[in-house]
Symmetry: C2
Subunit: 574 residues, 2 copies
């Protein structure tokens, strides 16, 4: 039986509980949502003692299911004031599941001091973290592996998390022990910091045995699925998520100059193709796995012009928000910024958005890469400007007096302009997560599961986008609960695999509808938390400029009916 | 018949409409709430074209009723994101009513340019405001009176309003043409700025005739009421609102050191008694009227040690929040800050609260008056720190990473600590206005109107405070709708006078209950707006430290039941 590890940071004490039976089919985001709803006062201060930070592998975590090692981290967000889950790859999720834990719940705050939590099958040791304080995530991971070996999973916060910045991340070490994977959105690194925890390491050297009611079916399904992914995801394998630069440009939704244009003639200099060539030339690697056994390998290793490691891994959202959004088209500048963000521990997306807004305010010029690199010192030195930017897009826009501020419910938008990718715009507006593309990204070519959403193919037309976003929000939530990576594709095929695997493991007879319910119930729990926190569907809207300004080159506006956005979840809540 | 003046700032065009009959008994805050609810999209951006700024005198405005010349200014607040009304004395309210206007509604935004609106019985002239730009409110009022004579009412914004700062005020000139009266709370000065309006002047040289169905009763009631006020309000006449320094100290709720203590042994140096002596010694005046005919005269004129005018008028909230809250006990320092705030056009309360939080963050020392004076240049020069502080307490706390941040729904608390003045704490938590004491201040000695609230006399005990705050919120809302000054006392006596006067004027037969309904309906309209804006009763709570930290000297905590706060208005909304 899986366990719940409950850690009280005030007392530095631990309880290990058997997972309640109600949690049997709750994992990842589904479980963080449920625990937060049951245990946390929704109106509590995100950085106060009443908030909790929950870490949970997914329902398939620790098994041979491909790409199933994501770790969900959940808490009340200091950025949005609502419930938040952010998940990432790397090795921690797999190892935590193999160590036998369905969730780790971090509670309360120490009177003083900073801790490393060392988790193993016996529970937790509270180790002094003084020597890690002030270190960036790369250094911290190196020290931890020096001391505790390289067979550990690591979650760590950078200086940003120590300082409780609202866009602080939880970094998760990848297979090489590099903090390339970040549970980046919503400031959960600050929540971890508020608990006095610099790092969590998990040692799964004595793994639990998972039982499978139909071992053979489980294994064969995983095998076939892996093969499928290798074939279907070749673009991601070759170019990583950066492949989306040309893809989004094609439909005119690549964020450019603080969401003023949807395309740029400079896109090729930051395209996946260009970056893959650069990486190969310089001895990096465009095809790298963040977790063990991943058949897609969309991660990468980016070297500088001298052939030295600069960053792992350069992703589309970073390229969009710290690149075209700022009119910066030099991949080395973007890579330097990425390296800084990963080490310091801040979300590249909300940071990029905030810089775009600062450019809009005239503080620095669009396209001025050196000036943006200069901001690194503002953050490191905790200057007033630094303090503003680390609050993310929304607060930066407020303080700098900018109305063109791309944020929803306190969180910055992803690198897709919602006027030419309207389904994703619907997701931004309605998701309990804030403006997260990972909550339901309606890219062209992807299909909903209901017949009525099959015909929605033009991403720039309003019709049908509500339904499409509903479908994707549910399917993404299923993947997030299963611990599956975003890039297996949140679609019918994937959900059928999840169904088969859960049935094979637990001798169940789940239907496709039952699997959908895993996603739906996750979102319903999140909506309930938010409602109690004072966040309602009245806030399901995008900033006015998306409705008022046309987006070149297509001339689109965000024209989804406001009432339908406000009523988005009404049917489910009846 | 009274008129509604509708001003379109995009077209610089005007419509003058007869007041609809449904508005007959809506005035001041009651009318601004109703118009905003009917006409403004609650989710609009406060500084965008969809918001409106509504100016309305009260139901008794322009008549001989004592202290009835308050002007209500309403709009969606850039500070709270909810509906906001802020009212103040001075001459504009009386004159606007006498010019025949029940409300002025400012709509849309100009493509460019800044305007002075000159209102008279014929409508509006749009005058070029270039020569007033960048002037502080004192200078701007002087120029306006030089050009348009001293028989005008003036509403003006300082540089803060021009720059759309979230704590920008609308300043209203007093009888002497000094911008001593400020509709200060909620950033409505920024809304006025967003409409491209630097100043509004009203010329009532051709006043309309008000008809009274029982002229004699109206006149006699006013006369008797005036006499009553002169007798009952002697303390305010002698010491102004500063009398509250000793009063709040006595019950241990005088905010001290960022809400850490409820009293200080230095209180006498900032007491009303001390200030009155100083003013007399230096040739100022502790007893001054802000509007014509006021029998209370709680305003004052404060001179510096050389006998030169320093500020009009030094009020309790300013003394509390820029004085004891910062451990500044030199009245000259507080007066200098007050003069700056009135001229620059920012709310002394949210500014004082923000500085307290900056002190908490270690940016400057408590008690360091010179350092606080130094902040003036930060604001004038629009530095990063300046930009943060002018966002008010809540954003300042967020950016500076301070959890002891005294704000509710985005607005800073008034100068009464809610732990030892619990009824006012209930008002802070529940009012649709945010943490406004003027929405229902439960000072000792004041009585609710219901029998069950009569026995609530200990301000530090939880019992009965919900009911007391309900009574006061309604009675305050009646006064705000009537255009009555806060200091006539929002009580049964006042409401009975309002009843008599409305009946005498309109040949009505209103009961006391009918008069209460004026207040209740105001609040219900505000709640409905807020609900549609996404602000719900789930947000009816105070910052955690008020529950967790004891307040010396009495050792009180804010222990009002959280569920009762959330359910505060439930009965009314059924």
């Amino acid at each position: 039986m899986m366990k719940i590890l409950r850690v009280n940071m005030k007392e530095q004490s631990v309880k290990i509980e058997d997972s309640p039976s109600e949690y049997r089919f709750k994992g990842g985001r589904g479980l963080t949502a449920q625990i937060l709803l049951e245990e946390v006062t929704p109106t509590c201060e995100p950085l106060g003692r009443q908030n909790k930070l929950v870490l949970a592998p997914g329902l398939l975590g620790g098994t041979a299911a491909p790409c199933s090692g994501r770790l969900s981290i959940g808490g009340k967000s200091p950025l949005t004031g609502g419930i938040k889950e952010s998940n990432a790859g790397g090795m921690f999720g797999q190892r935590l599941a193999r160590a036998g834990y369905q969730a780790v719940i971090l509670e309360e705050q120490p009177a003083s001091g900073w801790f490393i939590l060392k988790i193993d099958a016996q529970g937790v040791s509270f180790l002094n973290a003084d020597k890690l304080l002030g270190l960036d995530n790369y250094e911290a991971c190196e020290r931890l592996r020096e001391e505790y070996g390289d067979k550990i999973g690591i979650v760590v916060i950078g200086e940003a998390g120590e300082r409780l910045y609202s866009i602080a991340t939880c970094a998760i070490a990848d297979v090489d022990g590099i903090p390339a994977r970040q549970a980046a959105r919503g400031g959960l690194g600050a929540v971890m910091g508020s608990k006095g925890i610099k790092a969590i390491i998990v040692d799964d050297s004595k793994p639990v045995d998972f039982e499978f009611s139909d071992d053979n079916l489980y294994r064969e399904t995983c095998k076939a699925w892996r093969k499928e992914l290798i074939e279907k995801k070749k673009v991601l394998t070759d170019y990583g998520t950066a492949a989306l630069v040309m893809g989004t440009s094609k439909i005119g939704c690549l964020v450019t100059r603080n969401y003023r244009y949807g395309d740029t003639d400079k896109k090729e200099s930051i395209s996946g193709e260009r970056l893959a060539d650069l990486m190969k030339e310089r001895g990096g690697n465009p095809t790298h796995n963040c977790m063990k056994g991943c058949p897609i390998r969309c991660s990468n290793i980016y070297h500088d012009s001298n052939g030295n490691h600069l960053t792992s891994s350069l992703e589309f959202e970073t390229i969009g928000l710290l690149g075209s959004n700022l009119e910066i088209y030099d991949p080395d500048v973007i890579a330097k910024l990425d390296r800084f963000c990963d080490g310091f521990g801040i979300d590249t997306m909300d940071f990029g958005g905030a810089i775009g807004v600062a450019m809009e305010a005239g503080l620095l010029d669009f396209g001025d890469g050196e000036a943006v690199i200069g901001l690194i010192d503002e953050l490191k030195n905790d200057t007033m400007l630094g303090k503003i930017l680390v609050q993310g897009v929304a607060v930066t826009g407020k303080v700098l007096g900018v109305r063109r501020t791309p944020a929803v419910k306190g969180q910055g938008l992803a690198a897709y302009d919602p006027r030419s990718l309207k389904g994703t715009g619907v997701t931004y507006a309605t998701s309990p997560m804030g403006a997260d593309h990972t909550a339901g990204n309606c890219l062209p070519g992807r299909k909903g599961y209901r017949p009525e959403t099959q015909d929605v193919t033009d991403t720039g037309l309003a019709e049908g986008q509500i339904g499409l976003s509903q479908d994707f929000q549910i399917m993404h939530a299923v993947c997030d609960a299963a611990g599956l990576c975003f890039f297996v594709g949140a679609d019918e095929v994937t959900l059928n695999h999840v169904k088969t695997l859960l049935n094979a493991r637990y001798n169940e007879n789940f239907s496709f509808e039952d699997i959908l319910d895993i996603g739906k119930n996750t979102i319903l729990a999140e909506l309930e938390f938010n409602k109690k926190a004072g966040i309602t569907s009245a806030q399901n809207y995008l900033p006015e400029f998306f409705r008022e300004e046309e987006l070149p080159p297509r001339g689109t506006r965000f024209d989804i009916d406001a009432k339908e956005l406000a009523a988005f979840y009404d049917d489910w809540q009846k």
